[in-house]
Structures are given as structure tokens and as C-alpha cells.
Symmetry: C2
Subunit: 229 residues, 2 copies
Amino acid sequence: MRYAVLGTGIVGRTIATRLSSLGHEVVIGTRDPAATLARTEPDAMGTPPFATWHMAHAAVEPRSFTEAAAFGERVVNTTAGAATLDALKAAGSVHLAGKVLIDIANPLDPSRGMPPVLDPVNTDSLAEQIQRAFPDAHVVKTLNTMNCRIMVEPSRVAGAHNVFVSGENKGAKQQVTEMLVSFGWPESSVIDLGGIESARGAEMLLPIWLRLYGALGHTDFNFHIQGAH
Amino acid sequence: MRYAVLGTGIVGRTIATRLSSLGHEVVIGTRDPAATLARTEPDAMGTPPFATWHMAHAAVEPRSFTEAAAFGERVVNTTAGAATLDALKAAGSVHLAGKVLIDIANPLDPSRGMPPVLDPVNTDSLAEQIQRAFPDAHVVKTLNTMNCRIMVEPSRVAGAHNVFVSGENKGAKQQVTEMLVSFGWPESSVIDLGGIESARGAEMLLPIWLRLYGALGHTDFNFHIQGAH
């Protein structure tokens, strides 16, 4: 399968690495590949520059959002929530139409201080905004409720825990579930919350996730819905 | 211990019953006790009228909000979120000052259709509104993230699962933790999220709780933070 992972941050790199290691053809999308490769400083979170990561993962080529989306049979959005709609516009609706668009982003707004709040929230969600803006894409919200290392290696957290999927298209959710199973998620750990509107619930987990991170002092935890099965 | 449980709905009745069965002196607060007792119809959710419940729980007397709060050494808020501040105003700040005020309510706003949205949300929470309005009370948010039968009988859900506490006063959180332990919660299942601001996280679990209820078709589930300990 050909995957376009949009976003060169730690989440995008982690997903791209995992998909590549599973034998998929993966490109990673960014606004300006040359500028992304030219950066030499870690970002504000201490993440090493993209070029450092790319040296160890040469199979994953950086491409413009448009080229990446044109290449991918599936598209994974890992851009910052505030930049997502612009990134997808740059990708181009023609290159998203008919494809499964896996949205892992969270609409975090750090402009009002820490911890960040959500925007949109409550009466809307980023996933719904994406689906409205790109009605011909099959948007599936998933994986946004945990640290990215757990996304691709769920066994980091001992015991049963869950990952959620939200989306309008049952076939798309099934394809995403198969991708999650290939990452190591037991099929029984995938909870289908419902239509894309239900992504509000998954996105609104972030505020307690951030406070649990503060309370526990680490990110190797995940939500488990006890009694779900 | 003398408890005032404010709110005569299913949550208030369940908490009052449990506290009473544990040997506490419990009154249940309502705007107009005579009117509450006079109702003969089930409510919109099918909950039987208060008088029916009261026949089987005669030890728990209905009192006005003011009388109930004056009686209680601890106060438990189980009123509807939209009615909470008015109910506590009726209770009277003088009857809340210096007391542990356990807030179980959720600020659900059903006026925009189902499932209900939250108000306040994201940049504020009901628990913070209460703490600001009654600065001399020791507000502790807890138990709002599950069905009320699980609140008082956690073993309804098999396996480990969690209950959260948020509040400014460590002693008050410790007292609430002891109450939770008396309900059957293992002490290790109680997660202290932090100050009262962290109640935003607990309240924002409601949107996914409502969608999980829809997806699972029952309410006998609860959140477990896998990897927390």
C-alpha cells in the first residue's frame, strides 16, 4: 500500500517509520521539503531536526503536501491541528477524493497558555471540519488519544487498552482497523464510536490526557474502557 | 458523619442510599420538599417519583437546600449542572464555608439537541465556577465520569478502573478518597488529577462517555487508565 503521511513532527515520523517497516511505500508530506531538510536545530519540544531522522529513514522521502497526497493511496494527517486544514488544502481535494484519510491530529490551541485548550470543541471537531471541507474523502479519526510511541507499539502499555475510530464510512473504518491490527492492536481493542461526529468525544479526551500526564509524570499510559466487552 | 446530598434525581438518591447504608446521617436537599414529595409521575427519563423512593428510604429526609446544607458536615452536589449554582446559592455560602463540597454534577446542556454538549467547557468548568462562587468551600470534583450505580458499587465493573479527584485542598481530597474507599473503591484506583482546574478534564470525558454508551448499548463501563501505576 502507498501511504502519504502529512506532517514531519514526531507523530508523523513515528507513523511513517512503522508503516515503512511493515513494507508499505511511504512518503512524508511537508509544505516545503527543501526547507524541512535544511533545518538543523531541534524544535521547541526538543525534537531533533527532520534531516537527522531522515538519515536513519532514507526510504521515507519528504515531498510537498500535493505530491505526497497524489502518491498515497491512503493519507494520514499528523499535522498540528491549527495547520491541518491549510495542509489538506495544499494537498488538494482531488488527491484526497475517494481515499481513506486517517486523522490523528488534535486541535490544540496553545495561544492561551498551558495546558492548551481545544479549538474547535464541544459543538464541532477537527475531524468534522476536515470531512466537511473534503466531502469526497473518507475521514476516519483514530489514535489521537495517546502518545505516538503507543500508537505504533501498543504493547508498551501492559494489559488491555483501547483505540477509538470515528467515521461515516464503515469500509474505511474497517481498513483503518486492519492497519491498527498490523500495528499490534488486538481487533477487540478497537472501539467504533460511531460517525464522524463522535470524534468530538475522542478529541475531548485530550484535556484529561494532558492532566494525567502531569499527575503521572510519564506518557506511557492509555485509556481502557473497562466493561466494554 | 452528617451528609447533605443536594439533588433528588437518580444520582442523588443513589449516593444518599449508599451513605445512609454506611451509617451516616443523610438528608437530601431540594428546592421545595413538599412539592418534591407531592410529585406522582416518573420524570422524562422514566425515574420513579421521589415519594416512591422515599417510602423505601425513610431515613433520608428531604429538606430545603438551605436546611440540608446547614445540617451537613459534608455537602454532595448531584443537581443538574445548569441548576447547580442556583441550588448552591439557595443552600447559602454560610452553610458551605469550611466544608468539603463534593461535586458530582456535569454541566450538560441538552438545549441544542442530543447528545448534550457541555457548558461551560474547555476554558472553564462547573467545578471551577462553584469554587469561584464559594471560595470558602473545599470543592472536590469526583465521580462524574460514570453511571451512578458504579459510583457506589465499583465492583459492578470487573477488573481495575479509576475514579478521579480534582481540588485545591489536599486534606479535602483525602477525605473524599476515604469516602470513595468506603464505597468500595480501592485506594489505588483513585487518581488525583490536580487542582480544581483539572476538573475540566474530568468533565470533558462526558462527550466520549455518551458516545460509548451509544456504541456499547449499556452503562456498566468505566474508564481505566492503563499504565497509571
